[in-house]
Symmetry: C2
Subunit: 564 residues, 2 copies
């Protein structure tokens, strides 16, 4: 990681030379030490605030990061507030993938696939709408404030940067048990949205704005087509990646990656768990990461790829590994992701007081706050502009999941947080533009991220309690209307929850009626059938491994269910 | 990580700009992708060679790294063989700690503590002896070869560098089940030895050799005293770290680190497992890492600290966490360490063909091999010079563990491997000396590491089979003479293995006789009593958590026992 200048504010660093490390590494060591200590503190405080309805992990670590940053700032006599400078490479290559992977690994697949069309609609179309709105809005409003002298490319970049919602914070604010529908919608959208906005951003970076704007618009359309090309190509990548990850040894994955290296004999022979759980877990983790990196290298969206890897692995692979591997993977992936999330928010918090940037941007505090306010307003408008229309349009087509206004409001609200992706992208943009404009962008994005995460984030939870659960207790399966709830339960065969087999006795004469009443469920139903009939026998999965009730597997599952 | 120059040999890199990453990160992405793919390959091949008595994980990954390096070298038209340059900071801060921690976490504590005095004797005195021998020997022999023009400091550095055994490779070569005594001796020595040689190296770096040599020798004595100061100070650090890590929430640790922050109320209240396993595992891992970094900052030996952290955590903390946490920690720590070990050897293997270094060192191939041969000979002599004498001296004092000559031979042989620590230290040395001398040192240390790991490493396992198990099957408890075996078993109360309680019925009238016959065991016995009476009730541990036979805990333990 990049490091700030020599530290007069670390007395320890001077007494360092005798330690078991190279001399020049001393500063890194001190920074890392402080950082790890802060991480421990974050976990402790987050644990103490467990039952606090206002706070959550991200806010805690963000605020702790701010405190630490200001302390460092004081200690360094207003020279630098950064123990570790924000490094987008570190973020995109090492921090983000495990988090997204774990999200896919832990997501309730039933809900997710049931709302899949909705999620993609939100993630792609919605993001594009808010991108346009924020770009155009900032283009006109910035002149009012007096922050001008920016090119078209700059405003488009701003649009892409600020249309990237923060899925990490959403994960912590929404509860998968209480509101599964909202969770899957908002979170799933968040993942697709990240991918979309990043691709948009990169295309904006590549565009040349010296030509007339008609061509630019055309090129933006090209972006969009490219985006869909990406998604389709990604589909291939994901399927191959699933093919890579389902067999009990992830060996076929190695076939895919080192084609012709292995023969059918080894496939049959290779069952990692027999030898060691560690190797099994290691290969699962490495394959997932490899899929992300491969997607990046092949110019696909790594975020989507690794997310689907997580989904596929928890759907097939997870059921084929030894029992201890199951518990280990579940918890270790969750733990890693947990640590990294805390790390990121701590990071952003400490980076907020980046004194140099604030100095470089000659705009006054007043201007900064005005611009940030405008951006926040644009974010809210931009999100409102697609959430309510799309949801109401969807209402006409799929009538099983009626999303009433209160839920629409929550969906709108829960996507207002901006996070690390925004920061990372604005650092990337600032590197390509002048130092003044770059600093201007970074300071504003930091302000927006801080405000949205802390204020919006802390309000969200009470808001959900107030709006959704004021009248009624939440129904366990989510927000369906009780009438069709039972039918859908039967349709889904409840594979992701308890009784896998009960669906077998499902009277098939009722299906026809259900298909007419629930088109989406029907698609899901046939997929389910296909999955049970062909996929699972081939790739494994629940119901095809001996599942002894009362065995430690079920006990472990109990633990998991209790915890998640 | 540092990166080599622009890559003409990565066609993918050109097609990269559209991917979801900053443009300049493309090379890193490609390198990391290739590296992760290689890691997967290593695991696969290592798995296939599982039952091969000659190969082991380190050798496999080392050779794979060599192949990858040579391929890169060809692809780059003899320009560079390095995807990722060897970075000692990366090694010492991120790679080494988890490995050593896991070693302490998984080590059989009974064996380890029983041979503690022996281990320290080997690690400290032994290392110092071989350090002197190698330094003096190289000083005289290098002139014979014609490799002169080095200062005294250089030769002392060589002595420190090449007296650092490779504990990682030992872990994989020796089997803890088959030869527990040898394992605990050789491995425990390896850990202490790493610490010693690193401290020796750092002190040699700080010495000023323009004065007369009498003063230098005096200063070296100072080193030695400093070393012991370190060890004692370390004891304090470790005890505090144990105090940090034993309570069921590691909260008292946070008291130690953020003194006065928390009150007795929160201690009572704080039980992480209740809320989430993830937080529990996270805090365990972070606290251990924090102890390492703190030790580094305070100029203590981080390696020893984190090793004892691992021991303490598996002895106390591990028994206080939830059952799923237990399985998770056991396996995830092992997995992380496993991945990192593979990573390091892959790394060293790829770095071996560092063409620039070979060009820089103007010494001919012949000279290089002569020097490497001399170094290897010195390593063997230097180790023989303390293994056999010390073991025979020890034989006179402790008569329960009779180490016959065959075992002495194995102990001597198993410590001949040189590994990543040697490489890292020689890179450190080369940075301080001229590029020519630096290159000379690095090329030689690479040759020594490659040869010792591949040749010695592959021979070791068959050698053990041939020497130890030719006549007799191994006794499960190790290499004690069967006569006193039963007594010792009773003495130890077998806490680390099965029946914890059987020792309760131990007829105390036999103890006196045993104390006379087995002084070392007696010490261990009283520690055991103290531990049971005071430590465990206070800090928790086996026997003080409800242990239902047939519960998933015991099943999990079964799994663990089967795997390890």
């Amino acid at each position: 990681m990049a490091l700030p200048g020599p530290p007069p504010y670390f007395p320890l660093a001077s007494s360092f030379p005798a330690a078991g490390l190279a001399l020049d590494a001393s500063l890194t060591v001190v920074s890392v030490t402080v950082f790890v200590a802060l991480l421990c503190l974050c976990i402790l405080v987050g644990h103490l605030l467990e039952n606090n309805r206002w706070a959550n992990e991200s806010i805690t670590s963000l605020l702790l990061g701010l405190c630490a940053g200001s302390l460092t700032l004081l200690a360094s006599k207003w020279r630098s507030s950064r123990l570790l400078a924000f490094d987008e490479e570190l973020f995109f290559i090492y921090l983000l993938p495990p988090i997204i992977f774990n999200a896919g690994f832990q997501v309730k697949k039933k809900q997710f696939f049931h709302n899949f069309s909705m999620i993609v609609l939100f993630g792609v179309v919605g993001t594009f709408i808010s991108f346009c709105l924020i770009s155009v809005g900032s283009y006109f409003l910035f002149q009012e404030i007096g922050a001008t002298s920016f090119g078209t490319q700059y405003f488009l970049a701003i649009g892409a940067i600020f249309s990237a919602t923060d899925s990490v914070c959403t994960l912590q604010v929404l509860n998968q048990e209480e509101t599964p529908l909202l969770y899957s919608l908002v979170f799933g959208e968040g993942v697709v949205n990240d991918a979309t906005s990043i691709v948009l951003f990169n295309t904006v970076q590549k565009l040349n704005f010296n030509n007339i704007d008609a061509l630019t618009a055309l090129k933006l359309l090209g972006t969009f087509l490219y985006l869909f090309f990406t998604s389709t190509a990604l589909g291939v990548a994901v399927s191959s990646c699933s093919w890579a990850l389902q067999s009990s040894s992830a060996l076929t994955g190695l076939i895919f990656f080192q084609a012709g290296l292995v023969s059918a004999y080894t496939i049959k022979k290779l069952y990692f768990g027999r030898h060691s759980t560690d190797r099994e877990v290691a290969i699962m983790f490495l394959m997932a990461y490899l899929s992300y990196m491969l997607a990046q290298v092949c110019s696909l969206s790594g975020i989507l790829t690794i997310f689907f890897c997580g989904v596929v692995m928890s759907h097939y692979t997870w059921h084929n590994v030894t029992e201890s591997s199951r518990i280990t993977t579940r918890h270790s992936f969750a733990t890693i992701s947990f640590i990294l999330e805390t790390f990121i928010f701590l990071y952003v918090g400490m980076d907020a007081l980046d004194i140099d940037k604030w100095r470089q941007s000659d705009s006054s505090i007043r201007t900064t706050f005005a611009v940030s306010g405008v951006l926040l307003a644009l974010i809210m408008v931009g999100r409102a502009a697609f959430v309510f229309p799309l949801l109401n349009i969807a209402k006409c087509f799929q009538n099983n999941a009626t999303v009433d206004f209160r839920q629409q409001f929550i969906i709108w609200w829960a996507g207002l947080m901006r996070g690390a992706v925004t920061i990372a992208l604005s650092y990337n943009q600032s590197s390509s533009s002048s130092s003044k404009d770059g600093a201007f962008l970074i300071t504003n994005s930091i302000t927006v991220v801080l405000f949205s995460t802390v204020v919006f984030g802390s309000i969200t939870n009470p808001l959900i309690q107030a709006t959704l659960f004021r009248h009624s207790k939440p129904v366990p399966a989510g927000d369906y209307d009780p009438a069709s709830l039972e039918d859908i339960r039967l349709l889904f065969l409840e594979v992701d929850d308890e009784g896998f087999n009960e669906g077998r006795h499902n009277p098939s004469n009722r299906n026809l009626g259900l298909l007419i009443r629930h088109p989406t469920s029907a698609v899901h139903y046939f997929w389910r059938k296909f999955d049970d009939k062909y996929m699972r026998p081939l790739f494994g999965g629940r119901g095809f491994v001996p599942f002894v009730p009362g065995s430690s597997t079920s006990m472990a599952n109990e633990n998991l269910r209790l915890e998640h």
